[in-house]
Amino acid sequence: MTDVTRISRRAALMGFGATLAAPAIGPAFGQGAPIKVGVLHSLSGTMAISETALRDTVLMMVNWINGRGGLLGRRVEAVVVDPASNWPLFAEKARELLQVHRVDVTFGCWTSVSRKSVLPVFEELNGMLFYPVQYEGEEESRNIFYTGAAPNQQAIPAVEYLMSADGGGARRIALLGTDYVYPRTTNRILRAFLNSKGIADADILEEYTPFGHSDWQGIVARVKRFAGEGKKTAIVSTINGDANVPFYRELGNQGIKAEDIPSVAFSVGEEELAGIDTRPLVGHLAAWNYFMSVQSPANTEFLNLWRAYINNPRRVTNDPMEATYVGFKMWAQAVAAAGTTGVDAVRTAMYGQKVDAPSGFTLEMHRNHHLSKPVMIGEVQADGQFNTVWKTPGPIVAENWSPFIPENANRRRG
């Protein structure tokens, strides 16, 4: 068994997951052909920075399940492709996974646009995609299971926290984001929510910057001025991956302390902090459904698995990795329950599937294809980890169709 593990892992690391030779497989597995798991994460280009860790997580889980005797008595095999942060290439690779490699399930995508790009392919060919990243909602495909947060599972509780006494009682909010659909939609929802809480539009600043924006001097200075109008101010950041390092550096250097202007981020996790000196940022916040620092038996198991697999003490875990982990376990349970990998049967079996997640809660897949998730607010610590300062008492059901978007009333159903 360990042989198989080692070989498949090495092969996967070599990048030849697709062409893994059969002879290494011992009699531990039944006669059936291997179950194929597609991995559709960018390994090069701008998104590689975030997505490679998810590739590693899926490979780790494949390893894990083979170590437990596979699934349905069959070996599980990963098919890794590189869509290279190129959206049309995502669609092409999705088609290739489904039509050429005939994968049974796919774990993949990070950005919304990559998901939008592959969605028609998965629907046309009736594939199954697990999407592990928090997103703007407004979607519900029967071929996708969304294991990341919908806006109500992340954004709204975070802003509620900022406005509470513990969060500093903010009455003025600066919404900073990268100019793409997730921040735009999230901020639209937040604006409606803030208005409903009695915060006027004059007390909301909305600013968008391009991807990879690196010169934050002007915007941070503007936020400082915005904060200097005599009301407690907070920053809500939907700034994407790459741009965060220069943003936080500028925040720290311009002396914006969490005591004065706290910021809460929805896209900054342990991976992003690994590239920043966090000492000047202690007290700034992030909202997620999982932190690496969570104390729970399931997280211990997850961390042990990860450390054993990746063998690099510097590599951290984060929320999308947990969502991948949970999604994979849930899929494996559903396959076992359905007794087949057939997409329709597995889909039915997925509904109501429960997993004890590393976040310390038991998560359930609902018929809206979204997970119920707990919300946690964490403070940045000097060691690059988050300390949970607030969390919901239990998991929250996803509202992927936000009640704060009036057009959802006219939505076509089914």
Partner: protein, 363 residues
């Protein structure tokens, strides 16, 4: 024609190439038919291969257009991806309008992204795109107009060589940044997706794919013939002359600006057409298509195939993209080394590209 006494070897090569080309086109044309064979049949062509080769054909048209500008007129555009993307956007706008009330929010006119960004009515520049004819016109006109304006400014000021390349690169970069803005009304980073139909055909069927495939193949053949015709006439010789000694051509009394502009605009329109055919086949158009890297890649296809020969450009587009499709699955961590190494090797050892290799063997 002046070619009266061509010696035998290149003409045999030319015949061979021509036969190869016709054979390749026939083979491609047979793809959708072979696709209908049962999967176990030896000649079966998979759905994936059909759809991916439809995409390559569009790239080949882009490569042709670039070759006309670069290989013949000496205009190395590092922004041809912009024309491709603009054609794609024009087609995308048509496809978005055709979704009609079938969008998520059921709005009769506005595309989904406009609904949730809070648009009340269609921006004026979206009007007319519900008509296929108008959209097709825009597919050619928008890239054409951009090329006309940019080309006129540059060629008139006699900006050539590296300077021109960098200006075209800045152009596509500026367009990319602009299109990324959600306020532009083109869907921002997400661009357009989830198309439903074109000319009454639902897009997610094999029949639609076959139709688009044939439309692309016919366009490729037509564009090739057009380029061939242009380059075989005296106009083509003027272009070649401009490429090699621009100022000398002026002293012969040719208005170089007009000639270059003509080629550049024609080339941009062809690139726009390629983009328009590409979008319904890949199902998405977004500002990433404007990224400078894409344009450079297109230049690489032409260089790998052999610039200054039309067949070379087509060959380059097919071979580089074929390789990329294969390697991103077969060696997802290492493919950049293979591709990067290929570019290095071609520039160093095959200055005339793959076609040069064939010519070398022909002699």
């Amino acid at each position: 024609m002046s070619a009266t006494t061509l010696d035998a070897a290149p003409s045999r090569l030319r015949l061979g190439l021509r036969a190869g080309m016709i054979g390749a086109v026939c083979l491609l044309a047979a793809f959708p038919v072979l696709n209908q064979l049962p999967e176990t049949h030896a000649l079966h062509v998979s759905d994936f291969l059909v759809s991916v080769s439809g995409k390559w054909i569009c790239y080949a048209i882009l490569a042709l257009s670039l070759d006309l500008a670069w290989g013949y007129a000496g205009i190395l555009s590092l922004g041809h991806g912009a024309f491709f993307a603009l054609g794609g956007y024009a087609m995308g706008m048509h496809l978005m309008r055709l979704i009609g009330p079938r969008g998520v929010y059921g709005h009769p006119v506005l595309p989904d992204f406009m609904v949730f960004l809070g648009y009340r009515e269609l921006p004026w520049y979206w009007l007319g795109f519900d008509s296929f004819a108008f959209a097709m016109l825009m597919v050619l006109l928008v890239p054409g107009m951009l090329a006309l304006v940019l080309g006129w400014l540059c060629f008139r000021s006699r900006i050539t060589g590296v300077y021109l390349s960098i200006i075209t690169q800045a152009m596509t970069y500026a367009l990319m940044l602009a299109f990324f803005r959600n306020d532009m009304g083109f869907g921002g980073n997400n661009g357009f997706t989830d198309f439903k139909e074109l000319l009454g055909m639902p897009l997610n069927t094999g029949a639609a794919r076959a139709t688009l495939f044939y439309a692309s193949l016919v366009s490729l053949v037509v564009c090739y013939l057009l380029c061939r015709w242009m380059t075989a006439t005296k106009y083509g010789r003027v272009l070649t002359a401009i490429r090699d000694a621009e100022s000398r051509v002026r002293f012969l009394g040719y208005d170089v600006t007009r000639h270059k502009l003509f080629a550049f605009v024609a080339s941009a329109m062809m690139a726009g057409l390629a983009g328009a055919l590409y979008v319904p086949q890949v199902g998405i158009i977004n500002p990433g298509e404007f990224s400078p890297g894409n344009s450079i890649e297109a230049v690489v296809w032409v260089a790998v195939g052999g610039r200054g020969t039309l067949v070379g450009a087509v060959l380059g587009a097919f071979s580089v993209n074929g390789l990329k499709t294969w390697l991103t699955s077969a060696a997802p961590d290492l493919w950049l080394f293979v591709l990067g190494g290929l570019f290095v090797a071609v520039t160093l050892f095959l200055p005339k590209g793959l076609i040069g290799l064939l010519q070398g063997r022909g002699k």
